[in-house]
Amino acid sequence: MTTATVEDGPLRPGALLRVEDVVVEFPAPGGRVVHAVSGVSFDVLEGETLGLVGESGSGKTSIGRAVMQLPPPRSGRVLLDGVDLTTLGRRQVRAVRPRLQMVFQDPLSSLNPRRSVRGVVGEPMRVWNRSRPDIDARVDELLSAVGLDPAAVGDRRPSQFSGGQCQRISIARALVLEPQVLVCDEAVSSLDVSVRAQILNLLLDLRERYRLTMLFIAHDLSVVRHISDRVAVMYLGKLCEIGPAASVFGGPAHPYTAALLESVPVPDPSVRPSDEEVLDGEPPSPVDPPSGCRFRTRCPRAQPRCAEEEPIMRAVAPEQFVACHFPLTAGAPRP
């Protein structure tokens, strides 16, 4: 195995999933390029859950898809158990896919409306030519595991179920091939609060039961905080900060993380938001990202250096890394 080309420190030896310097680009009109992800590295240990947060256009979904090789990234490496998926041929990638599964945001559109629930959940096993009795037994087990009664729901169609139930079906399908890594892309974002709580509890249960490693992509910080061991914050195609959930949420080092946390409405009327703007403006276009630090155009701490030199990831606390020239340190007053 070649050594990593990234000099930053957040990558750990022995990680189950390792994303190295991944770049994802899309063509834009006029021969221009959307820089969706520009050199992002992180890893996830076995059994760990990494939460990936960011606003629209931050590249968090593109990263999730690059991990799945849907499509493979423009450059960089995605290693599962030491094997670089980006170098594999189509057949080899197919052979790896059962170990990597995904749950999408919109449960109804990700389920085939013409198939029965049993058919939808068993489909991945049929693709792999498993025997009929094996499929039946496994589908029964998974439907029960996600809280559905196989006898009652098996022959019904996805359209006969509510959003929360459809998401349970999607999760059952994702787990039917016993994956090691589950990528959840906004898996609870379209659900009502009370249903969202049920699905989050379900994911926590299944994570224990099947020893899942999860990449949990979401824009909702309270949800990410609840489910993640570690959290990575993205802004405009770059990683700003990564670290243990408690450190990142408790003592954010990147000014963007701090602003993001401060923007979240708190469900407590005694905490009234101040009248001052947390963050001015909106993210610039990923077609033409700013030089240096991509957050500098909105950053309250930006200095001339931020425009000239791109900050690299460095440690600010044990296991907490930040890409900022002037990070917020514990106890320091905010500018």
Partner: protein, 335 residues
């Protein structure tokens, strides 16, 4: 309720039933609410609770063919809107009552310049001339925090970012200086940092103009930070209402508490399971007798299934529950 100024809007036993093949669907089923000048009333509830239909019923923005029956009164500044001729409602809508909806891209006309959309209402309702309307439009864009308003007036909606578009729809809603603003999930489609900007803007404009606002949302965090009073809806009815701080700190209805407990809290232990509500909301075509929350309520007793609880209470805090929280548990629930 403590007597402040007279309410701008007062609904009494408002009812909107939709026609379905199975029979009338009781989307809004006897709701009484009011809002005073300069205050913000939040209406929260999950999908299907009737909060959006309630808002649209006020201004008659529902397809007439779909409605099976309506009832109740809507008194707006001394004018009865329920059952008023369309011409009367049309004159109020957009002039004395402004509206902001969830998705700014679908509420703006994609082939009309921002300036035209902003001045249309003023010229129609207020009869101001082209030059004057243009001048006011510039001032409005400035008031909602849009830089370079002169240029933006000539832009089409697609040339603006999501946050800018929502600022434009707010400017349009305010163009005729309404005394009431109806906002239906105005920040749900926006990123969290932009959401915080828009909520601050709405608060500032409300105070400057002493305007009443009804804010419909599913987000308890948004409600906590932005509203003075709160109504919680479940299955077409208000189950609890009162000053926002009181409803949060001295919650009496089990559904309100369940909603609050389903939100992941910052101080939760890692992996802690969230409180959930068993079952699903009832069918509004054939709602359960008695309290509509009874089939899912941990405190439900025989009386709850037989008799519908009235919305009652003291000091402006009202709740529809036979065995409210804070009172002793009913004997049947203890078993």
């Amino acid at each position: 309720m403590t007597a402040q100024s007279a309410p701008v809007l007062e609904m009494h036993e408002l009812r909107t039933w939709f026609a379905t093949p199975e029979g009338p669907l009781r989307a809004v089923d006897g709701v009484s609410l009011g809002v005073e000048p300069g205050r913000c009333l939040g209406v929260v509830g999950e999908s299907g609770s009737g909060k959006t239909v309630l808002l649209r019923s006020i201004v008659g923005l529902l397809p007439r063919r779909a409605i099976a029956s309506t009832g109740g009164t809507v008194c707006f500044e001394g004018l009865e809107l329920a059952g008023a001729p369309p011409a009367v409602i049309r004159d109020v809508r957009g002039r004395r009552i402004g509206m902001v909806f969830q998705d700014p891209m679908t509420s703006l006309n994609p082939v009309m310049r921002v300036g035209t959309q902003l001045t249309d209402g003023m010229r129609h309702h207020l009869g101001v001339g082209r030059q004057e309307a243009r001048r006011r439009a510039r001032a409005l864009l400035e008031a909602v925090g849009i830089p370079d308003p002169e240029r933006r007036l000539r832009d089409y909606p697609h040339q603006l970012s999501g946050g800018m578009r929502q600022r434009v729809t707010i400017a349009i809603a305010l163009a005729c200086d309404p005394s009431l603003l109806l906002a239906d999930e105005p920040t749900t489609a926006l990123d969290v940092t932009v959401q915080s900007q828009i909520l601050r803007l709405l608060g500032r404009l409300r105070r400057q103009r002493n305007m009443a606002v009804i804010l419909v949302t599913h987000d308890m965090g948004v409600v906590a930070g932005s509203t003075d009073d709160l109504a919680v809806m479940y299955a077409g009815k208000v189950v609890e209402q009162g000053p926002t701080a009181t409803v949060f700190s001295a919650t009496r209805h089990p559904y309100t508490r369940a909603l609050l407990e389903a939100i992941p809290r910052a101080d939760a232990r890692p992996g802690e399971r969230l409180a959930t509500i068993p079952g699903q909301p009832p069918s509004l075509v054939d709602p359960p007798s008695g309290c509509r929350f009874a089939p899912r309520c941990p405190r439900a007793a025989d009386r709850c299934r037989a008799e519908e609880p009235p919305l009652a209470g003291a000091d402006g805090h009202r709740f529809a529950c036979w065995f409210p929280l804070g009172d002793p548990e009913p004997p049947a629930a203890a078993t």
